[in-house]
């Protein structure tokens, strides 16, 4: 564990720094301007990777929650907490960059399209999850309750997406993500680079936040020990 966390400091941090600079260079200097949308299309090099990372984070919350309930080890709860915070952060980035792009591209800040609406609902589900954590009476209880909500929340994701899709009926497909068709090779390269960078960036942040969580637990234990007059 210690070694893995040190790996984040020694290898991942410099690597992500270099990759992030390279990504910015690719996005702003190498990738060409999109013909119809112009410069604003470049926001997608950050928007889509953020969305991917957010979903990855929420999936991790689910996994860690299941593992916590199965093994009762607090370490999984610390991981779930860290992943949830980052999920909310990256989901927030998606929700902010989306409208900035949508305004010039679609002529509107917001549209109740399935993917957008699902992202918004998901953000709200996991904000409530974080609020729940802050309201728990004891860390162990908070961990259990959060795990229950984390699991139920994740089970809900496909249902929410499906329901919003039905709600919008035959909505015109406004844009396609991911698919490489029509994407310039250079654009694809920039996009792939950004995906890798953001994924590693997420892992780095997760490692840092995870370590912070472990330190917070240690501190709480020390405080408790000090209060009860024991020497450790």
């Amino acid at each position: 564990m210690e070694r893995a966390l040190r790996f984040a400091d020694t290898v991942l941090f410099p690597l992500v720094t270099v990759l992030m600079v390279a990504s910015l260079y690719f996005v702003f200097r190498v990738a060409p301007n999109e013909v119809t949308m112009g410069a604003v299309q470049r926001i997608f090099y950050f928007h889509v990777p953020s969305a991917w990372v957010a979903f990855l984070a929420f999936f991790l919350v689910f996994l860690a929650s299941v593992l916590h309930l199965a093994t009762r080890r607090m370490i999984w709860d610390t991981l779930a907490h860290a992943a949830a915070e980052l999920g909310v952060l990256f989901c927030g980035i998606v929700l902010m960059t989306g409208p900035i792009w949508a305004r010039p591209a679609w002529g509107t800040w917001w549209t109740w399209e399935a993917r957008l609406t699902t992202t918004l609902v998901l953000e709200l589900v996991f904000v409530a999850y974080l609020l729940l954590r802050s309201q728990a009476e004891s860390p162990a209880q908070g961990a259990r309750l959060a795990a229950v909500v984390g699991i139920a929340g994740f089970l809900d994701v496909p249902l929410i997406y499906f329901s919003v899709k039905i709600w919008r009926g035959h909505h015109p497909i406004v844009f396609k993500t991911g698919g490489g068709e029509g994407l310039e090779p250079v654009m694809l390269q920039a996009f792939a680079l950004c995906m890798v960078t953001f994924t590693l960036f997420f892992i780095l942040l997760l490692a840092l936040r995870f370590r912070l969580g472990l330190l917070q637990e240690d501190l709480a234990e020390l405080r408790e020990a000090a209060r009860s007059g024991r020497t450790t």
Binding site: V127, G142, L145
Partner: protein, 227 residues
């Protein structure tokens, strides 16, 4: 005690308690009426010429979701107040049976409130419900069950925290998005009186939602009750 009899006992206990005090029903009922009132002021239906088929689905589902939250909360607050939650935990029965009992009581409760409120909302619009009574009852029952499954689980979660009253709506409303969407859509079809196939499809989806979260509740309730 078998899980089934434990569930039924708990459900009967909740209903008996409610019949004697009528606290929760009165609160949920008047809250539901107040929502109708605010609706009346917020959207001037008469002046705008909107009828029940246009806005009824919205009125029904906003009323149901918000007033039900009150009932879900209360079903666990009454247990917490007198430390009955501890007593329940000591019961020699499966926690999952307790979930089912609470869930059943909540569904019956939500339906009882809606049974009174729905005709009143139709009355406010001078709309005759008799033609659509059966399909409407079906939509409300199936969706109320799905909503109660998730609501019972999350109410049990939130009641274990410091500020349970604040937390439950925040947890439940976004997670219940599918129920609200499918409920509204099916109700609208029902009030418009056409689209049997889609109606059945939507009700089926809501049923699936209910089944998923009843199973999730049964599996997870143990962890919620633990001290």
């Amino acid at each position: 005690m078998t899980p089934r009899s434990a569930s039924l006992t708990l459900c009967a206990k909740d209903l008996r308690q409610e019949l004697r005090t009528r606290e929760s029903f009165t609160a949920a009922f008047f809250f539901a009426l107040l929502i109708q009132l605010v609706f009346g002021f917020a959207f001037d239906f008469q002046d705008l010429g909107l009828g029940f088929p246009d806005v009824g689905a919205g009125v029904i589902w906003i009323t149901l979701t918000f007033s039900s939250i009150l009932s879900f909360q209360n079903s666990f607050l009454i247990e917490r107040e007198t430390s009955c939650l501890t007593a329940l935990r000591l019961c020699p029965c499966e926690p999952s049976a307790m979930f089912v009992g609470k869930f059943l009581a909540n569904v019956l409760f939500v339906l009882a409130v809606q049974g009174v409120v729905l005709p009143i909302s139709a009355l406010f619009f001078s709309y005759d419900l008799s033609g659509v009574a059966l399909p409407l009852a079906l939509v409300v029952a199936v969706n109320a069950a799905g909503f109660s499954a998730l609501g019972t689980l999350f109410a049990a979660v939130s009641v274990r925290t410091r500020r349970s009253e604040l937390l439950l709506p925040l947890l439940l409303l976004p997670a219940a998005t599918p129920i609200v969407i499918w409920g509204v859509k099916a109700t609208r079809i029902c009030l418009a009186g056409r689209g049997v196939g889609e109606f059945a499809y939507l009700v089926g989806l809501s049923g699936c939602f209910g089944v998923i979260f009843i199973v999730a509740g049964i599996l997870l309730f143990d962890y919620v009750l633990e001290e």
